[in-house]
Symmetry: C2
Subunit: 253 residues, 2 copies
């Protein structure tokens, strides 16, 4: 990974994930998205619906990474406190935002919904933030500095990402190669470590799995340096062939 690549962190917000009631799907989506954009996702955190926890995590992450993506806590109910937490983390006021009010009033009118106080809470946006388009249920997310605040419902979050992506500086995308090795991780570990030391710009991971004919391992190489990636890939291919030929590849991990 080159230091010139933008970096990112994810902050998942919500008691329902910590209790196990909801199984998070947003982290994997954002991880794939960042990889496609050439942005290094470096860290993720999950915190409860507690303002001090959200503020502390935001302040730990936003100074450290190029971008922070939050999901959850921007609905109309009492436990939706993300916008307030972001305002507090940045030390700015929060109030009903005229742009968000307009979007919501038009939408509620169209849908025949009552624009009650709770629903209009979704128009509360920290001062200085720009809105993030929500083509699914209109209530906008927002961008405050390098923090992107999105819904927790995966369908809405995924749609918001389309608007968010336009605002991000892309890096050189990671390229990857995969070698399926018919043997255990433990068979490949020592020579693989040698190859890793030879090619520090290539990140090599090994992921065992059970194939129909026995244990096998995916050896995954990732790099932004195409030439180094190709060299390391050839080295791993030679290693895998040699180990298989020697009949050393027998077990797993």
């Amino acid at each position: 990974m080159t230091s010139a690549s933008p970096t990112a962190a994810v902050l998942l917000i919500g008691d329902e994930i910590l209790s196990g009631r909801t199984k998070d799907k947003n982290l994997g989506f954002i991880a794939d998205y960042m990889t496609a954009l050439g942005i290094d996702l470096r860290e993720a955190r999950l915190v409860p619906d507690v303002e001090e926890e959200i503020v502390a995590a935001l302040n730990a992450l936003r100074h450290r990474y190029s971008y922070v993506f939050t999901t959850g806590g921007i609905g109309p109910t009492h436990d939706d406190i993300t916008a307030d937490a972001v305002a507090r983390a940045f030390g700015v006021e929060i109030d009903h935002d005229p742009r968000a009010v307009e979007i919501l009033l038009a939408y509620f009118k169209e849908m025949g919904r009552e624009p009650n106080e709770a629903r209009m809470r979704m128009a509360r946006i920290p001062r200085g933030a720009s809105l993030i388009d929500n083509p699914v249920s209109r209530a906008p997310g927002f961008q405050m500095g390098n923090v992107f605040v999105m819904a927790g419902v995966p369908k809405i979050m995924n749609a918001m990402m389309e608007d968010v992506a336009k605002r991000l500086t892309r890096g050189v995308p990671m390229q990857s190669r995969n070698v399926e090795f018919r043997g255990g991780e433990g068979d490949a570990a020592q020579p693989l470590g040698q190859i890793q030391r030879l090619y520090p710009s290539v990140v090599i991971g090994s992921y065992p799995f059970q194939a129909p004919d026995g244990f096998a391992t995916n050896l995954v190489l990732r790099s932004r340096d195409a030439a180094a990636l190709e060299e390391a890939y050839q080295a791993v291919c030679r290693m895998a062939q040699a180990l298989t030929a020697e009949g050393k590849a027998r077990g797993w991990a």
Copy 2:
């Protein structure tokens, strides 16, 4: 949540989750497990295979919560550095542990696998740790203080949890009630907030979903106080009936 309940944090370790290549399933499993044991899962973090990051996260979490559960990074390859990171976080030595060596040698002999240097790395355990049983592929996890170090492969991690669970102090399990409300989050938000204020020992969440006949919302009440839970549940039922009767429940969030 009473302050007497044990608390917990999860630390997921691995580049493959940050890159999106692997979609984590361990967090949800541990969350369900903790809920069943009456332990409050309060936070989770995901960090890359970088020793300083693992050490920093471990030290941030282990002083703050009753238990920390880590997954990933205890295999035989160069990127498996969790054991070293735990030793460094606790300031203890790490070396091949005779108990772990014995387990691994017996297993490799039985399976006809070569006990090479890489495989035997899996016997490196921080001094003072106790082993965690691995009935799937034998290579043990370990407990160091209040930190439980487990495999990243879900099948192995889930099996290790059986041994880990015996060592945990259980809390009073959270009980929960669910009210399916035929209306939008925004319809229920205001009265629901009032009920929440009346019953601070009950955690009330609202989770919208699309039902066959329109938008609906699951109103979930959780508490360790059975009497308060029942009272709050009755209040939410009355609220839902009243809103439905008024015909106010028309829209979504």
